[in-house]
Symmetry: C2
Subunit: 299 residues, 2 copies
């Protein structure tokens, strides 16, 4: 089952209480791919500038990630800079240089158009709709977004939500999208927009899944050191969609496990900056942590 | 196995987005007792003024709560007033009239001195130490406190922490007590103060337990309507200590279940103001919700 991801590729400059990296590889498609490729081949649609170093891409290619859909444009790669607060729950954006990403128009190579598992990473919802229009018969569309589009492109966002099967968002976005303070009521309102399932991410407090009136809660894996939360959400999505692509059926049992695999992959990401922990991560380490997730939640 | 609780009895005036109650019964000992009495007989040490209406006490007596340790003093009962914010996570204290509670000196009736399961609800840590000194041979001492004592009576608080088996606190208090932003590091630091186990409450995000290097995470039960969070922490403690008193052995399996019973009892409390939901609550309703907890966390 091949997976398609469409989103950003970036150089991130990130400062946390544990250190700083400058121009480290980042972006939703690469974080997603590094996780999803543990489960299924991944096709990437994105854009980089001529300055982007190829070593991370080479690593991902060996893991079964295809970059036929990657455009290389003259100019610089998208750059983002941020600083995390002491408690790591909040961050300030220090700069955003869209560069070649500003004119990003996702074009799916012919072989990608029959992809079955789709992850629409956080980009302009109009572009997300454009991606959907290029697909033949996707089996599962999973959507991400950010607060910027909730206020700025609400109509297009609601349209792409209505066309998605699973919408992944965080608790703040759920409140902002619906105006509801109570999370349960916000969830009801978002499900009424069309998606079959919701995943609400709550950062250090874990994630919850809602599907056919059933709930599932997963804690975040307890870590003594969180060095850099950047990419956690996208590796969560990578583990989540990756697991579902391998499992096949969309049902509550598979969705529960998908949330745990997503949470597990995200927990590795934050243990170090950029892709430092994800490079070298093994399937055995993942399975071991999934077992520990079971141990910390069973009763 | 009889349980002893020492703490406050109050009239609460509470305003939330769902309404307001004036001079409604409250206080840690009564919320605790209403939950713990589902499992074992409960002995209460506290103080009320001559103005306290006896109907809630009569109800609790029928449930196996003993009030031999209750002093009735001339004057008014402790009164607290608070207003919750729209998201229910924060509240402002509008007034605190200690009244007869100001001179509270816990004196254990002789028959209480051999109590085995002890809950030291949130009062001055010097009084908590005094209670411990009156006990013969407690089997399990469970401690609660609040931020006020962390800053105001730190030395006495550390002493009573060191003499307790299980310390229940919330995540903010854990950070404040240790100066550690990372919760895992804060937990390590608090365990180094002496208790065998910690329960860290995270409000709508659930609770976590740490015992002998093992973790357990429980979500908060998902509710569409949270009318009044007052008393949630004390009914959590009541379900937690109550379950342990009935289960007997202190081990990880029992502690896991105790957290779930605590969370279950708390989830009923917040569905209505004061004791409105707890009066009439049945053991069957509790067991049903415990089953639903299993359903929303298993994978």
């Amino acid at each position: 089952m091949s997976i398609l991801v469409v989103g950003s590729i970036a150089y991130d400059t990130v400062e946390t209480p544990y250190g700083k990296v400058e121009n480290a590889p980042g972006g939703s498609t690469l974080f997603f791919s590094s996780a999803a490729s543990f489960f299924s081949p991944v096709n990437v649609v994105g854009v980089i500038g001529s300055d982007f170093d190829g070593s991370l891409l080479s690593f991902l290619k060996k893991r079964g990630v295809d970059f036929k859909g990657l455009s290389v444009e003259s100019g610089e790669t998208f750059r983002w800079g941020g600083r995390y607060h002491a408690n790591m729950n909040k961050r300030d954006t220090l700069f955003t240089f869209l560069n070649v990403f500003e004119r990003f128009q996702p074009r799916l190579p012919t072989s990608y158009k029959s992809s079955e598992y789709i992850f629409l990473a956080n980009i302009d919802p109009e572009l997300q709709l454009d991606v959907l229009s290029q697909l033949k018969q996707p089996r599962l569309v999973v959507l991400d977004t950010m607060n910027f589009w909730i206020s700025g492109k609400r109509q297009a966002l609601q349209e792409v939500i209505s066309k998605s099967d699973i919408f992944i968002l965080n608790d703040e976005e759920a409140h902002e999208l619906t105006g509801e303070n109570n999370l349960m009521k916000a969830i009801k309102a978002i499900l009424a927009m069309g998606p079959k399932a919701l995943v609400v991410k709550k950062g250090e407090h874990g994630a919850m899944l809602i599907y056919e009136n059933q709930f599932f809660f997963a804690p975040a894996f307890p870590l003594e050191v969180v060095k850099d939360p950047t990419g956690a959400g996208d590796t969560f999505a990578g583990g989540f969609v990756g697991f579902l692509s391998a499992a096949g059926d969309l049902n509550m049992e598979n969705l529960r496990q998908a949330v745990i695999y997503g949470s597990t992959l995200a927990s590795f990401t934050v243990e170090d900056f950029s892709f430092n922990r994800l490079i070298g991560l093994t399937r055995d380490e993942i399975e071991e942590r999934v077992d520990r997730f079971r141990e910390i939640t069973r009763f």
